[in-house]
């Protein structure tokens, strides 16, 4: 599902953010991407949904070469990928329902289908009692679940989560990870970037470890 071949990403003359990274993530797999701050986790995720392009190397996502994808095709790539961020990135002036439904509008679903899918995913994430609340009126854990709901509502093949539990307490972190596990169990490929070692230990999934932009062999960070 995801393949990187000798990918390097440089931002300037200094050391590269990512250096000669090659990896492979199978369809339906759940992997952790770990490493200290500045190791290149976020850069790698951004490369996967074409928020950035590699300086060299090739990236293949769902049989599509992301590095050479024409700009007009980028939205279609992103519709196959759900992305969740540490800071949630919710629209403050839209309600929980509107935030999630917005993603369905973007891909041009008919209004009825937009509503059906939005209710469905919000129910799955136990947010149906918060439909008409604004982000600032709900807890951090709920905000993160809204962000996950938005990432999932278009039924993506891949879910990328960048420090999804970074702003949450341990209990809420486990809840969120449970939700992501559940999503993965339905066949969605999941890549979670985190530096939370406890979480990684408890989950016992494959770990891709980055150190100063280099992928460590064997997954040890």
């Amino acid at each position: 599902m995801i393949q990187l071949f000798h990918v390097t990403r440089r931002y300037g003359p200094g050391a590269p953010a990512l250096s000669d990274v090659s990896l492979h993530v199978e369809k339906g797999e759940f992997v952790f991407l770990t490493g200290a701050s500045g190791a290149g986790k976020t850069t790698l995720l951004r490369l996967l949904f074409r928020d950035e392009v590699p300086t060299s190397g090739q990236i293949v996502v769902n049989n599509e070469n992301v590095a050479t994808l024409p700009p007009a095709r980028v939205p279609w790539l992103r519709r196959q990928i759900g992305v969740v961020f540490q800071d949630f990135k919710l629209l403050p002036r839209k309600t929980v329902f509107e935030n999630v439904a917005y993603a369905t509008q973007v891909i041009g679903l008919p209004p009825k289908e937009q509503r059906r899918r939005t209710y469905q995913v919000l129910e799955m994430l136990a947010l149906n009692h918060r439909l008409h609340h604004f982000p600032e009126q709900i807890s951090g854990g709920e905000q993160q679940r809204v962000a996950i709901a938005r990432a999932l509502v278009n039924r993506p093949l891949i879910l990328l989560a960048d420090e999804p539990t970074g702003n949450l307490d341990p209990d809420l972190s486990l809840q969120i990870i449970d939700v992501i596990k559940e999503i993965n169990s339905h066949g969605t490929t999941v890549v979670v970037a985190t530096h939370d070692r406890e979480l990684i230990k408890r989950m016992a999934r494959r770990v891709l470890a980055l150190q100063q932009g280099v992928l460590l062999p064997g997954g040890a960070a």
């Binding site: 949904f49 007009a72 939205p75 279609w76 790539l77 992103r78 519709r79 992305v83 990135k89 919710l90 629209l91 002036r93 917005y102 993603a103 509008q105 973007v106 891909i107 041009g108 008919p110 209004p111 938005r150 278009n154």
Partner: protein
């Protein structure tokens, strides 16, 4: 095909409306900036419109007199009249018989009435007064025509004021050159204003745009509401400018300055026709669209 299109237009309208209502201060500032720019443009258009009327009026003053010989036969006069009516340069022709010319002179110069009486009718020959079409109101064209008419049978003399023609030609050239120059500058100023406003709106909604991109929105989906919003702001600005212009013109023509200065009637005596007023509103909308398209294209990531 129709359903997605309708859905897309609905999305653009809804998001444009929400965008405008969510940032009322920015919306108001935008509409006012556009209105002020278009108002200044409208003032210029009003002045140009009045000057154009003035020039047209001056054109009507440009006459060419074709005096006939006393011995001119009715056939020669008829042939000349036909020649005048079929000439593409001739806009209007009027035959002034000798007697009418005398009466006109005596009305204009009553003190000289006795002199004309003593001299008899010979000093006022029959004549044609010719008004040229606007396209032929320049000294060279007038001279060409005069040369032709002088060669016609029965014509004694052809007179026109060459200096007047030349002054009119210079005035029109000045107005055209100045008008295009100032008009273009003002239009650019309006576009820059609207463009800046759109860029501000884009900046204010940067986070929202980021999220839209994240969930796979196409460039059209993101840009559409901004374009609709800019067009709406341009239209509102244009209507406001047209209303302001009408009000300020009304107040001006009712003022003492206008009443006491006859020159003012020449440069501001008439208001723009309804087409001009509507044009101002439409110009606001079109310029809004253009400026938004350019601004969004510049903010290439959008």
């Amino acid at each position: 095909m129709t359903a997605p299109l309708v859905q897309g237009v609905r999305h653009c309208l809804r998001e444009a409306r929400d965008g405008l209502l969510r940032h009322p201060a920015l919306t108001m500032l935008s509409v006012l900036s556009i209105a002020v720019s278009l108002y200044v443009f409208g003032l210029f258009a009003l002045l140009a419109f009045n000057l154009n009327r003035l020039v047209k009026g001056l054109g009507q003053e440009l006459q060419m007199q074709i005096y006939l010989e006393e011995s001119a036969t009715p056939e020669e006069v008829r042939a000349l009249r036909e020649g005048l009516f079929t000439d593409p340069a001739v806009g209007d022709v009027r035959f002034v018989p000798s007697e009418e010319a005398r009466k006109r002179f005596e009305t204009q110069f009553p003190g000289l009435k006795e002199v004309t009486g003593a001299m008899g009718g010979a000093i006022f020959p029959d004549a044609f007064e010719v008004i040229l079409r606007p396209a032929y109101r320049d000294a060279d064209a007038a001279e060409r025509l005069a040369r032709g008419f002088r060669l016609s049978a029965g014509v004694q003399e052809v007179r026109y004021d060459r200096g007047w023609f030349e002054r009119l030609k210079s005035l029109i050239a000045l107005m055209r050159g100045g008008g295009y120059g100032v008009g273009t500058l003002l239009m650019l100023a309006v576009m820059v204003t609207i463009g800046t406003v759109v860029r501000l709106t884009v900046l204010a909604r940067r986070e929202e745009i980021e999220i839209m991109k994240l969930v796979g929105a196409t460039a059209g989906f993101i840009r559409g509401p901004f374009l609709f919003g800019a067009a709406a702001q341009g239209l509102m600005g244009g209507l406001l400018a047209a209303g302001g212009l009408a009000l300020s013109w009304r107040l001006f023509v009712d003022s003492e300055v206008f009443r006491e200065n006859p020159f003012m009637a020449l440069v501001a005596g008439a208001f723009l026709p309804i087409g001009g007023v509507a044009g101002l509103a439409v110009a606001g909308m079109v310029l809004g669209l253009l400026a938004a398209a350019v601004s969004l294209h510049r903010a290439a990531s959008v």
